[in-house]
């Protein structure tokens, strides 16, 4: 007698299959896109929700953490958009803002961008079957094989596609502003693409509008394709996740030769956050800098996982991530750096530092280097610990109270990476967000 093992689907997996079954006919895209969606869903379905036995998801077991799948978001209604528009006008959105509401691009709330920049909705690009956009959906693109990215490709409802013409230089950042009008927690799947032409220079900043803007289950993907000699600075403020929410952010970046790429993310807020960065050096002599600060308290869980692929020679990669963990929070950092045989003269350094403020927090830090070229410099480091007592004492001898000394050191720990950002207004904004997070800490809580 032979026993056949049939893996049982979780209720969330069953609900996702049902949601795809119902929605597929209505999801945007031509026949080719529809086929890609089918293939993507099948790929997800085979793997199921990632769980602890999948190495890259070991510390963020979605099969256990995602008990249910929320209903798919409906496109926002005209009335809700009008009300939101009023709110946005009153608050004053920064220049060059492109607004996405529940994952849907809303041109009437968005700014007109200067010459050299073309903007369309993802839905329109999929409907017309734009070649470069469709190519970027396939699983093989940039070597991204991840069930959550596949799920995003299957169910993506909308997003924005930004084309930056070769040689365009933009002084102010293009802002992707996320907002929500859904009254109940929903799931939404969105994907945006930024295609940066040769020699173009651009800043992309992802922020949110309003409080409670990101409730529910969000599977968001941002794809950046940088041409040769481009210069891209990206920031993400992920500070609005509501408690009980699930936030899955996939950031896929592919860079040409002699390009320069810089990215910073601040993560605070409730619920479970998984941010995965797929960075591929496709052209020679490119430099990329990935940075992030995660500030977690309560029972928050934030995972940043990097997949950095060095495929071309002479590239430089810097990955620098910091965590401050309070209460019973859980931090995860995984950094996989793969250096292909052709990527000689790769220079890569990765560092993760975590400050643990209680003995109930957990930090999981895992670097992985896979080096197949023989002439490279690759290093990594990780630290976990409390605040330095000598530093606290030094500050106290100058008159700062214990609480003041602690606050100054925590602010410095997070702020140090922020200060490296090229734009002063972004530095000020992120430092203010860190200060706001610290201000909510009970004063003088002894370590």
């Amino acid at each position: 007698m032979t026993a056949q093992i049939i893996p049982s689907k979780t209720s969330a997996e069953v609900a996702l299959a049902e949601a795809f079954g119902t929605a597929r006919a209505k999801l945007p895209g031509n026949a080719e896109v529809a086929q890609l969606r089918e293939a993507s869903f099948e790929s997800f379905s085979k793997a199921g929700l990632p769980h602890r036995r999948i190495e890259s998801w070991h510390y963020t077991d979605l099969r256990a953490l995602m008990r249910e799948a929320l209903p798919l978001a409906q496109p926002p209604g005209a009335e809700a958009i009008a009300a939101l528009g009023k709110e946005m006008r009153a608050a004053g959105l920064p220049a060059q803002s492109l607004v996405l509401v529940d994952g849907v691009f809303i041109p009437e709330l968005s700014a007109k961008l200067p010459e050299g920049v073309r903007v369309s909705s993802l839905a329109a690009a999929l409907a017309e079957g734009r070649r470069d956009v469709v190519t970027a959906l396939s699983a093989e693109w940039a070597g991204v094989k991840d069930p959550i990215v596949s799920l995003n490709a299957a169910l993506m409802q909308d997003g924005v596609v930004i084309d930056i013409a070769p040689g365009t230089k933009l002084d102010a950042p293009i802002r992707l502003v996320y907002a929500s009008v859904s009254a109940t927690p929903v799931a939404h799947f969105s994907r945006s693409l930024v295609l940066v032409g040769t020699g173009a220079s651009v800043q992309i900043s992802e922020t949110s509008f309003g409080s409670g803007g990101r409730k529910g289950q969000i599977n968001n993907a941002l794809v950046i394709v940088g041409g040769d000699e481009c210069d891209i600075a990206h920031t993400l403020s992920l500070t609005d996740t509501e408690p009980g929410s699930l936030r899955l952010e996939s950031f896929m970046v592919k860079l040409g030769a002699k390009a320069h790429f810089d990215s910073f993310a601040l993560i605070t807020g409730g619920g479970i956050v998984r941010r995965q960065i797929f960075l591929r050096f496709d052209g020679a002599d490119t430099k990329a800098n990935l940075r992030g600060v995660s500030l977690l308290r309560g029972r928050e869980h934030a995972d940043t996982t990097l997949f950095v692929e060095h495929c071309a020679p002479g590239c430089e990669g810097r990955e620098n991530f910091r965590y401050i963990l309070d209460d019973e929070a859980v931090g995860v950092f995984q950094g996989r750096i793969h250096v292909a045989p052709a990527a000689q003269k790769t220079d890569s350094k990765m560092l993760c530092k975590a400050l643990l403020l209680t003995d109930k927090v957990a930090m999981n830090s895992k670097p992985e280097l896979e080096i197949f070229a023989d002439d490279v410099v690759c290093g990594h480091g990780a630290t976990c610990g409390g605040l330095n007592e000598d530093q606290i004492f030094y500050l106290q001898t100058r008159g700062l109270t214990f609480a003041q000394a602690e606050a100054l050191l925590l602010d410095a720990f997070g702020g140090e990476l922020v200060d490296e950002l090229p734009d002063e207004s972004l530095v000020a904004a992120f430092r203010a967000e860190i200060a706001a997070w610290l201000a909510k800490r009970p004063q003088g809580a002894r370590l």
């Binding site: 106290q396 700062l400 720990f413």
Partner: protein, 250 residues
């Protein structure tokens, strides 16, 4: 006036200070000399309030108030200042931000108003000019990437800004070249005042050529074994500490 009475301090099972007595009057510069490992730095840390030391007896009175019962920041606000042998590096905290935070924290503890930015800048400029500290150093992270001399000058700059009643200089001369030594000594001398006193801890007589003390105290095996005028430093320079260690052991 600082009075240390019968101070006994241990770390774990080891007794470091053994019933130490020392008085430094207002306006006085007292030098504390002694061989390695005799407890000079322990004395400075205990006065400033570092944790990890077990005070088994005695008191440290600044103008009659026992500092040992106060947190380190309260001691600072009451006028105690410690210039560290090895000033701590604090990455990410801009020196200027730190100086302002320290000054205002002390003023707040004393119930004084915060200093306005122009008044603060004026004070900073005067002190940094005196110590040859360039303005770009004030923008950098505190003590990070500073040379040994720069770190010591930064500590003296803090002392000039905070205007303590009592300054302890823990081997401020260590690691300084002759020019830096002179700058630091000039900085300290400029702060000498009838209502301010100093305890200058050093191994060598050299620093005392620049900061001329009123009294010299020799420490051995955890207590003061001899006190005298500035000529005592010269005597130590000639004969070393051996005789005093023998005295302490007797």
């Amino acid at each position: 006036m600082l009075e240390i009475r019968n101070l006994t301090v241990s770390i774990g099972d080891k007794t470091i200070l053994q019933g130490l007595n020392l008085t430094v009057r207002d306006g006085e510069v007292a030098a504390l000399m002694g061989p390695n490992g005799t407890g000079k730095s322990t004395l400075s840390y205990v006065c400033a309030g570092k944790s990890g030391y077990n005070v088994t007896s005695g008191e440290v009175l600044l103008d009659g108030v026992n500092l040992l019962e106060l947190d380190p920041d309260v001691r600072a606000a009451r006028g105690l200042f410690l210039a560290f042998q090895y000033p701590t590096e604090i990455p990410g905290v801009a020196t200027m931000t730190f100086l302002k935070a320290a000054l205002n924290a002390q003023r707040k503890q004393r119930g004084e108003e915060e200093l306005s930015t122009p008044a603060f800048m004026k004070k900073i400029k005067a002190a940094s000019d005196m110590l040859g500290i360039k303005s770009d150093m004030l923008k950098r992270s505190l003590n990070v990437g500073f040379s040994g001399g720069e770190k010591k000058r930064m500590d003296i700059l803090q002392m000039a800004l905070l205007e303590p009643k009592f300054g302890i200089l823990d081997e401020t001369d260590s690691g300084l070249d002759i020019d830096a030594l002179r700058i630091v000594a000039d900085g300290v001398n400029a702060l000498r005042a009838p209502d301010r006193a100093f305890l200058v801890i050093t191994h060598y007589q050299r620093l005392l050529e620049y900061i001329v003390p009123d009294t010299v105290h020799i420490m051995a095996q955890g207590r003061i074994v001899r006190s005298g005028g500035k000529e005592l430093a010269l005597e130590v320079e000639k004969s070393g500490y051996k005789n005093y260690e023998a005295t302490a052991a007797a």
